[in-house]
């Protein structure tokens, strides 16, 4: 009996030890499995107020549309790029987290991985400036270091290095992804020859700032002189008439009509235009647009209850929107847009069959369209004016037989088109286009100009309009506000007070408490 007890007593540590070993291995195995699953299935939450570590809605929409494997290769290893590099790597993590099924991130260090770097250089012909390579099975795009940040070089004359002013990585990467994913780059053509707003030169009426937005959204921008032309340039996805100050001829309107008949899209932005004598200028577009059910008044809008502070009533800030995809994100966020010296644009009572008109943005009820241009010093609402609320933009969709009645192609009152073959079922051609025609008219150009496009929700309104017109609804969103800036302005006295609090008072109180505890224990 005692032998048995001794034997079992000697065996017990071995048994216990074995069990312990198995238990430890099992625990480590479970630990590894749990963390492996966690690495592959995770969520990132951005707890900042302005969501600066979250991809913008637009970027999110672009990356979530990706349905084929995309690898984002970050090329690192150059000296002096730590701040941009860190931000870029974190940014790529966000893209990968937004679509982990298809988007992957890889980092290649030029210095530590020269073989891999050489392979990249040979396969993709990268340059020294290449920071990110976006690769699919069939295509690739590059984002350069110079695209990732904006630098201030003013200190270089004093021997200082350039300082980073803004990190622009997200815009550049999203644009590159758009280019990679889209089969077709939408072509936007701006008319010329009628005093339209310039695209390349800065200034109050210029659209040069807006052009930067168009570039980032992967639009191809071009210009076209309509006078004397035979047709709208081939491949035009969107035609834009931006702030003309000289009237259009009937021949030009016919070109526009034919273009729309063929499934084209048109954006018109019209400021109140005056002749040299101060009377409203007939641009020739008003009657033509009436054929689409769009009424353009010879007025300028006054809104005494505009939300804009410290400016006159002819500058209108409003968040009154219609129900339409273009303005849906703005309405959802309650974000205002600002129009300056606008004219009323609204749907007419008599809407041609097959056309649907939606008001996009309106003033308050207290506003009106002032028609008296001769007494600008003392204006007030009277019977001749357009009563509020006044619409400042409309969207028109038309399809099927409605295109056959596009005005400008016929004599007034008839329904024949300029090209009769195109409108009959036998001809095919124009009627064969499956997509609906789209037209947007705004009674203001200024909201898109260099002065105002970055104000309020103006850039969102402009880009949403463009994207809706070319049927890129998935890109309709709201531009994000810049992140909050924090700056402390402490003078010497305040700093001293804080130092005394955190370096003397707090630790001192702890030491006193410790001393009291020690005394208590001694007793």
């Amino acid at each position: 009996m005692s032998t048995e007890k001794t034997a079992s007593h000697r065996q017990k540590p071995w048994v216990d030890g074995s069990l312990l070993g198995v238990g430890v291995l099992l625990a480590v195995g479970i630990f590894a499995m749990v963390n492996y699953l966690s690495m592959r299935h995770y969520e990132r939450f951005d707890w900042t107020r302005s969501k600066i570590y979250t991809l913008s809605e637009k970027s999110l929409q672009v990356v979530q549309q990706i349905d084929e494997p995309v690898e984002m290769v970050l090329v690192q290893g150059l000296v002096g790029e730590d701040d941009v590099l860190g931000a870029t790597e974190e940014l790529l993590d966000r893209y990968a987290a937004a679509n982990p099924s298809f988007v992957d991130k890889r980092v290649v260090d030029l210095v530590r991985n020269p073989l891999e770097a050489q392979r990249l250089a040979q396969e993709y012909e990268i340059s020294e400036d290449t920071a990110i390579i976006l690769v699919t099975e069939e295509d690739r795009r590059f984002v350069n270091r110079s695209d990732l940040a904006e630098y201030d070089y003013s200190g270089m004359q004093f021997g200082q290095p350039p300082t980073m002013q803004a990190f622009t990585g997200e815009e550049s990467i999203t644009r590159a992804l758009l280019e990679l994913m889209e089969d077709h780059q939408p072509k936007v053509v701006f008319t010329r020859g009628h005093g339209e707003a310039p695209l390349d030169v800065g200034g109050m009426r210029s659209l040069s700032a807006a052009r930067n937005y168009f570039d980032k959204e992967n639009f191809l921008v071009d210009t076209w002189t309509s006078l004397g032309a035979r047709e709208v340039p081939k491949g035009t996805d969107l035609l834009v008439i931006a702030g003309p100050t000289v009237g259009f001829l009937p021949e030009e309107l016919e070109l526009f009509s034919s273009y729309l008949e063929g499934g084209g899209r048109l954006l018109v932005m019209l400021d109140p235009a005056l002749t040299e004598t101060g009377l409203p200028l007939d641009l020739g577009l008003e009657d033509w647009l009436a054929g689409f059910g769009v009424g353009i008044s010879d007025d300028f809008i006054i809104d005494p209850e505009s939300d804009a502070a410290f400016v006159g009533p002819e500058i209108i800030a409003t968040s009154e929107y219609g129900v339409h995809p273009i303005v849906e994100p703005l309405a959802g966020d309650g974000a205002p847009v600002m129009f300056s010296l606008a004219r009323s644009v609204q749907g007419l009572d008599a809407v041609p069959e097959g056309m649907q008109i939606t008001e996009l943005v309106r003033t308050s009820d207290a506003a009106w369209g002032e028609t008296d241009f001769e007494n600008l010093d003392a204006y007030g609402f009277d019977e001749a004016d357009v009563p509020g609320p006044v619409a400042m933009g409309v969207a028109v969709t038309f399809s099927g037989s409605a295109r056959a009645e596009v005005p400008g192609t016929t004599e007034a009152g008839t329904t024949e088109a300029a090209n009769p073959e195109a409108v009959t079922d036998d001809a095919g051609g124009a009627l064969a286009a499956a997509s609906e025609g789209r037209l947007v008219v705004f009674g203001d150009l200024d909201f898109a100009s260099d002065v105002s496009v970055s104000n309020a929700g103006n850039s969102s309104l402009l880009l949403n309009t463009f994207n809706w017109l070319v049927q890129r609804e998935y890109l309709i969103s709201i531009e994000r506000d810049p992140p909050d800036q924090t700056r402390l302005n402490l003078d010497g006295g305040e700093l001293l007070q804080i130092v005394l609090l955190v370096l003397v008072l707090q630790p001192g109180l702890a030491l006193v408490a410790g001393f009291l505890v020690w005394r208590m224990r001694r007793r």
């Binding site: 630990f31 963390n35 995770y42 707890w47 570590y53 955190v502 410790g514 001393f515 505890v517």
Partner: protein
């Protein structure tokens, strides 16, 4: 649970009635206060970037932050089990109607509670910033979440080290060495080129974690890592105690 609570209360009382704990608190406040004062004077300079907030710099962006963690954790945990083993009270504790797991959990939660207490006075820094500038509360909350998470891992490591030796100093040194392993990951991560290994090391890189928490980014991978690592080390500790019981 009663056993866990009883041990928790006992240990917590012994922390607060120990002069050493208050000295540790004074040290923590002195170092953190120094960090905070430095940050404030830096940000009050007109040339400093407006996009970096004081608390973001405070949470893990300085060497002193990690120095505080590496030194206070061994001090908090070194006596938890090793002192009881040396004085013989551990055997008595194990004969009481509590098992090893309850002992470990009770001591662990007490250490964690005192660790949280050590960081609570830094809430005054947030109030100071709020008086002079706008405060984004999200990154503040995530910053403290990161401190809590990393602390929970370190304390579990310290508790294991304490169970491995009867000598408190030895236990503290073992804890210190094990914590340095976590820091070594940061350096090795930047040197490694193999993709799989790099992914694993990045996943475990606490300095990167704290940088994200300080910005306001809360990643579920970090939280899972902290919880699973703490549980793993606590399991090891309870098995170590059980093994001592058999021998």
């Amino acid at each position: 649970m009663n056993g866990v609570r009883a041990i928790f209360e006992r240990e917590l009382r012994s922390y607060f009635f120990s002069p050493m704990a208050w000295i540790v608190l004074a040290f923590v406040l002195l170092v953190n206060g120094y960090i905070f004062a430095l940050i404030l004077s830096f940000l009050s300079d007109a040339r400093s970037p407006g996009s970096v907030t004081p608390m973001r710099l405070f949470f893990g962006d300085t060497f002193f932050f990690w120095m505080v963690l590496i030194f206070i954790v061994p001090v908090l945990t070194m006596r938890l089990i090793s002192e009881e083993r040396k004085s013989g009270t551990l055997e008595m504790l194990m004969t009481a109607p509590v098992n090893e797991t309850q002992v470990v959990l009770g001591k662990y939660f007490a250490a964690l509670a005192f660790y949280i207490f050590l960081w609570m006075p830094t809430g005054i820094y947030v109030l100071v910033v709020a008086q002079h500038s706008s405060v984004d509360w999200g990154p503040i909350a995530s910053g403290y979440l990161g401190i809590f998470g990393i602390g929970s891992v370190f304390l579990a490591v310290g508790l294991l080290a304490s169970s491995l030796s009867k000598n408190q100093i030895v236990a503290a040194v073992i804890t210190f060495a094990m914590l340095m392993f976590f820091f070594a990951i940061y350096f090795v991560d930047s040197l490694v080129t193999d993709e799989t290994l790099k992914n694993i090391l990045t996943y475990m890189n606490l300095l990167q974690h704290m940088e994200d928490f300080g910005k306001g980014i809360v990643d579920t991978r970090r939280l899972v890592y902290y919880l699973s690592t703490s549980v793993l080390f606590l399991f090891f500790t309870s098995r170590a105690l059980a093994a001592k019981k058999w021998s």
